[in-house]
């Protein structure tokens, strides 16, 4: 089960509205390598990890990804709060507005809805961990693109934090995969 802690993992306090940036951030809300995608991917793969290390690591990283999803939604919420229709239209968010008003919808910046086909599960723990390593690298690259798109330090600080987490998660997945290969670990069931 999960227990909610009423705080963000890292603070998000954005003073200036920026609808274009909010739109770009949807890549990490409902895009292929989004935080949602990561959380579901690891939660879904943990059942076929061969030992306790894998079950623990996937559970704990998946849980952290949910906290990251909350940070991304906080950023989108604060960047769009109080936006006028004119601002929404100018930012190219008219399409999203027509369907969802000010509600956050789990889609990418181009309005493509989230799909579970983003989540890879092969049942083979080496294949899964290697796809997780690649997913962390793609998310790191996405955060770099997002950081390229803004100079607002209120937005850059949480993005830099989230990017760095991808670096750490990649490392842990790699260490686990190397350990399984070195020790020739096999699934018992």
């Amino acid at each position: 089960m999960w227990k909610y802690e009423k705080k963000l993992q890292y603070p998000v306090n954005i003073k200036n509205k920026d609808l274009k940036m909010a739109k770009y951030l949807y890549s990490q809300y409902g895009g292929p390598d989004s935080e949602l995608s990561a959380a579901l991917r690891y939660l879904n793969q943990r059942y076929t990890m061969p030992d306790d290390k894998g079950k623990a690591l996937l559970t704990d990283i998946a849980t952290e990804e949910l906290a990251h999803l909350e940070m991304i939604s906080a950023m989108i919420y604060q960047l769009t709060k109080g936006a006028t229709i004119e601002e929404i239209k100018n930012a190219g968010m008219g399409g999203m507005f027509s369907m969802h008003d000010g509600g956050l919808f789990i889609n990418d910046p181009n309005g493509v809805p989230f799909t579970t086909s983003y989540i890879e599960t092969s049942g083979d723990f080496i294949a899964d961990l290697e796809s997780d390593m690649a997913a962390e690298q793609r998310a790191r690259a996405t955060y770099e693109h997002l950081m390229d798109l803004t100079n607002d330090v209120d937005v850059l600080a949480p993005l830099a934090f989230l990017r760095q987490r991808e670096v750490v998660h990649y490392q842990r997945f790699k260490e686990l995969r190397n350990y399984y290969l070195d020790k020739k670990i096999q699934r018992k069931d």
Binding site: K6, K7, Q9, A74, Y77, E144, Q164, R165, R172
Partner: protein, 142 residues
């Protein structure tokens, strides 16, 4: 060492001595950052740290909230490490220290800013305090 450092940090926190932070930059590649330095980087491990665009990490307010967040973060990052290296005694010690310190601060934090958990002591009040703004995604939230 960790125990001493945590005690000193807590002392400084209790005495509003924030202008003299004891979280000093630790550049030993085999060691971890202090909770604050690790938190602002999003990484407790100097060997793994890898930056982008920003020439230095963004500093956060030197207050109770940052201090609590930093201790939670430090414990969590070490948690991920321990999942893979469960027999690292020093890191288990660091995890316990940071978790215990965070728990101590949580009490104080909640007495000022409201409950973090629905079953915290800070929520055993009338009227029900859990609903109170700001929620985490709102500006100025926890």
């Amino acid at each position: 060492m960790n125990e001493y450092r945590n005690a000193l940090d807590y002392y400084n926190y209790k005495n509003n001595n924030y202008n003299n932070p004891t979280f000093t930059e630790n550049v030993n590649a085999n060691n971890t950052y202090d909770p604050y330095q690790g938190f602002i980087r999003g990484n407790m491990f100097p060997k793994l740290y890898n930056d982008y665009k920003l020439s230095s990490p963004v500093q956060l307010d030197n207050d109770l909230k940052t201090y609590y967040d930093a201790l939670c973060f430090a414990a969590h990052d070490i948690n991920l490490y321990l999942d893979i290296y469960p027999d690292d005694r020093d890191m288990i010690m660091a995890f316990s220290n940071y978790s215990n310190e965070a728990e101590k601060l949580a009490k104080e934090y909640q007495s000022q800013f409201g409950p973090l958990f629905v079953n915290s002591e800070a929520n055993m009040v009338y009227p029900w305090a859990w609903d109170n703004e700001p929620w985490p995604w709102e500006r100025g939230g926890n």
